[in-house]
Amino acid sequence: MRAVPYAWLQLSHDKLKLVAAVGGIMFAVVLVFMQLGLREALFDSSVRLHRAMDYDLVMISPLTTYVGRTKNFPRSRLYQVAGLQDVETVSSLYLALTNYYYAETPDTHRQVLTIGVDPADQDVRFPGVLEQIGQLKKPDRVIMDRYSRGEFQPAIATAADGNPVALQLNDRTVSLIGLYDLGTSFGVDGSIVTSDLNFQRIFPNRTPGQIDLGLIRLKSSIDSETAQREIRTFLPDDVLVLTREEFVRREVDYWSGSTPIGYVFTLGAVIGVIVGLIIVYQILFADVQTHLSEYATLKAMGYSQGFLRGLIFKEAVFLSVLGFIPALGLAHVLYGQAEAATQLPLVMTVGRAVLVLVVTVIMCCLSGLLAIRKLNGLDPAEVF
């Protein structure tokens, strides 16, 4: 005969209670999934631009906080680097948030990130940009991110249908002639790419010699960290030269460390775990309380304290798995809905699913550990 599956039978005996318990844990796990998902989406979306461009090193001002709030620096610094033997090409980028207005949606007043590039450069490689970059040489021509937020979608839809779209950027009328694929972030609702000359037209007060990003491509055999060290030896402190990873990390660090957003989502995940912890503790504590005399009987029969602890832990693990499975499915659905609504990259990764499963099991076992304290003083003689 197989051993009596005591923990499972005890847990599943009261179906209604089990459903309520699983529901509670599922809620907590979904909360954790959503918080972690949104947190990761924040970080992933904030570096979309960083990852979509072709470069080995990047030059920025030390005062730049994030891609939507850059501080410009002299283009001459980039040219200083261009002359180095290890450098293949350099490209200048102008970035600035621009007031956006579309006459068809007059109530929509938003800011859009405008990126000015030299049409001769090939380093801005968002899907769709390279094919259209030649057309941007013409005055007041812009292309727009297809995945910009909903407020920009009327203009995007019109452009996608091949119809002419006139936009006002900083009170200058421009023609939206095409679309590219990038995506939004928490800091940027939408983006526009145009030529460096058109950028100057939209921002007449900007000095062409002051750029926001300098992209440096090295010759294929050159190690980026070695080149970075060499460049740093002769450049003054008014610019920073970063590798791709450092550039990405700097942006992520800004959002996670310098804004409340990263903290809020981390706190949300922690609260989710605490909620789950309390729910499971309540369930297991009530279980121990209800069955105290049976447990004392088992102890009097010769079952050890370890057996009883194992029983509660098994119940905790069962609860965690039972709560996790539907939560995973529900979180997957909610990710899809949130992604559609926000254009943020909310994707269920295997790593996150495993992480949350582990957190859920630990959470339930911790609750079990707390509930077990009630068993410690259990006197088997009490059953007589």
Binding site: A300, S304, D379, F384
Partner: protein, 350 residues
Amino acid sequence: MADALVQVESLSFSHRHGGHEQRVLSNLTIALTPGELVVLTGPSGSGKTTLITIIGGLRTATEGSVQVLGRELVRAKERVLIKLRRELGYIFQQHNLAPALSIAENVQMGLQLSNGHKDADAAQRIERMAERLGLEDHLKKMPSQLSGGQQQRAGIARALVNEPSLVLADEPTASLDRASGQLVMDLFNDMAEGGSAIVLVTHDKRILDQADRILNLEDGVLVPAGDALMRDTSESLKKLMDIDAPRLGRMMSVGQALAQVALADGKIDAQERAAMRDAIARQKIFSGAELNLVVDLALAQAQAWSQTSASPEGLQELQRAVEAVALADEVVTDEEKAVIRRLLDQAGQA
């Protein structure tokens, strides 16, 4: 005693309540041998339950020595106590069956203690035990589907399925009807015949006559069981007198008459006992418990007379006693003298 399953020597046990020590058991010495069915009686709070919890390794004695199945339990480590508990059969007054487990699974929990569930005949053992206790049709049911008595029997099956060599039972028949109680007692008797020692804590007088030995605890000390029985009987008679004095008087006079007639030839045999019962039953004067009481009174009286007459000293004691009663009002009348003479004649002839 070399082959004793339980050897208790000078056992004492005290409870501590906020610095105040309350002695529960004092200087007990008990030995239980294989095959014994011992009934532990005594009023509530006398220490019966405490004693079996100490023998069962659930409490530790404060003084003395307690050896059970070859292990010394005083100051024993927890793992020794756990090992011992697995070898015992505990029957609790509150059966505490797991409500989430079927009756078969509850019984299996007893078997699992010794890994007995892995044996090829594990299922048959559970079925056999259930059958012995009249539960064969209830194995798949949940405890909530059973009556209190059936649940109690399931608890007993759980305790005995391992065929333990020592059974400690706290009021095992308290919630059982007469037939079910006898099923349980039959099982205990069979186990005792097989060499197990059975200790029953009980107030159930129906099973006293099945005990090999009666241990009577009062205020934590062992006192002769006869003393307790006499006191209980006396109290019962007083209560009966309060409730229905005429009926009790009628029963006692009939009992006395029967005893006198039966003892007329100086002895009472089995035939006369049966005849007594039949005669009263036919008259339909008494029935059920009354009938039993009348016959028991008659037999007890006849037995008492026959034992008193067995020695001249006994007769002298009886004479002194009845004369003292007659002198209580400082005058012995002729009528009293006649009664005394008749009583002494009867006792002398018996």
